[in-house]
Amino acid sequence: MTGHPSPGPEVSFPQGQPGIDPRLPGGDRRSRILAGGAGRNTWIAVVSTVVFFSVAAVLIVNSAGWPTVRFFFFDGAEFAYAFPRIVARFRWNVFIFCTAEALVLVLAMFIAVLRSLPGPVFAPLRLLAAGYTDLFRGVPTILVILLLGYGMPALELHGLPQSDVFWAIVALTLVYSAYVAEVYRAGIESIHPSQVAAARSLGLTRAQSLRHVVLPQAVRRVIPPLLNDFIGLQKDSALVAVLGFTEALLRAEIISANDFNFTPYVALAVIYVAITIPQARFVDWLVARERRRREATTQL
């Protein structure tokens, strides 16, 4: 078949493969197969995508209820009216989730460190931290918002804030700190004990080893899952509507009720997608970069 000697039984390609000249030297044929395969795969992906979505679109547009759905959900004039008004209130959502995210970063770290404390002396603190994560991962976020948002102001304690936004931020912080604490903890546990041994052998205290050696490496490793949790938090900022505070979702609901049209909800969905997709791509990019770095290191 080819010029190079083959010690074993000759490997023969199936006859009649398209695009492969059996007379080509071995190396070229191999690269032709790979290149041809990659090009063909791209084409198949494009064609199947176009076909799939065309069929889906045709089916939807020709369905009996489509004119009604288009009227109630995809009204262009309604969209143009609602969009800027919802964006104006969405600033509150941004304020709520940004504040909550900053607080979560700190509180979750505190809980994760508590849970990682070694030795029998710290058993009560570990238990407390474990109970915290169990509780706030177990209760639905909307319930925590309702309970804190209506319950805390109802106490009428002097000095306790009455603001909906304040308690919404507290509720989101409490719930998401439970998730992010687990993410941090996974990161802390992924650091090899030899790193701690090296730090302690140099005379660094347990706290210094944690602060300078373990946590910086752990945080770097968990940035992608942490950002994923933040995307969840951003979406859950819409739950603040249950307290009667006019953030973006409640604004959309009001416009929708006034105009008897669901397009404002679609407008809000567009806003959420517009802010979360770039973050999701950023996470993908971080993961890919980390993988590239690891591979580069292994080859060294």
Binding site: S194, A198, A199, S201, L202, G203, H212, L300
Partner: protein
């Protein structure tokens, strides 16, 4: 001569496995002692116990005449005076070479940052690593990483340096550069306890060689006697296996 390290009746178990079964060893100041023996004979555990990285079950250890296994001893203060270099280097991958060497000087010894840097620069220059100061460890070869680890330990100006099979994770061609570094240290009078499988190196550099088997020091003596005319059959069998494996 005064004693740098004194160990009496040291015992250590991991669960049901007794790794050290009564170790007695004394190391003088400026002495280089090589620990030899098969894998699992307890060399690494012994070194980790001396640095208090493993709690000991029984027995006592003194460093420069001060008992470090006594109750109420400040473990961090003890570890500052003992340097250890690990088989897998254990550099901090998120810090530059320079930061690896300055971190503990600043945080554990309280040295001003400028002094720590100057000290680190001097050590790195001595080990031929001055141009690597701003690189991260993953850009360095294994031999370079291990020399950084030695510099990091020496930066603390320890009373004794423990070396735990520091060349076992290295490519054969990189072993020599690390061994040369250690030879250099021996000539400066550094007190060292070296667990190693490099018998040729042990014969060159050691003032005394101790053979460990099953958690005990079976035999010790000057390298000339140990490698040519050991008393114990077990030592002879071990050395025969090493020779058969082409490692000596």
């Amino acid at each position: 001569m005064t004693e740098a390290i004194r160990i009496e009746g040291l015992r250590k178990s991991f669960g049901p496995l007794e790794v050290l079964r009564g170790i007695d060893l004394a190391v003088d100041d400026h002495e280089v002692v090589c620990l030899i023996g098969a894998s699992g004979s307890g060399k690494s555990t012994l070194l980790r116990c001396i640095d208090l990285l493993e709690p000991v079950d029984a027995g006592r250890i003194w460093i420069e005449g001060v008992e470090i296994t006594a109750a109420g001893v400040d473990e961090n203060a003890v570890r500052r005076r003992i340097g250890i270099v690990f088989q897998a280097f254990n550099l901090f991958p998120h810090m530059t070479v320079m930061r690896n060497v300055t971190l503990a000087q600043e945080k554990a010894l309280g040295r001003p940052a400028a002094d720590a840097r100057a000290n680190a620069h001097e050590l790195l220059t001595r080990f031929g690593l001055a141009d690597k100061a701003d690189d991260y460890p993953d850009r360095l070869s294994g031999g370079q990483q291990q020399r950084v680890a030695i510099a990091r330990a020496l930066a603390m100006e320890p009373d004794v340096l423990l070396l735990d099979e520091v060349t076992s994770a290295l490519d054969p061609v990189l072993v020599a550069e690390v061994l040369d570094t250690i030879r250099g240290l021996a000539t400066t009078g550094m007190t060292m306890v070296i667990a190693t499988h490099e018998m040729g190196f042990a014969r060159d550099v050691a003032h005394r060689v101790a053979f460990l088997e099953e958690g005990r020091i079976l035999e010790q003596g000057d390298p000339g006697t140990m490698f040519t005319d050991p008393h114990e059959d077990a030592t002879r069998r071990f050395l025969d296996r090493i020779i058969a494996a082409g490692r000596m």
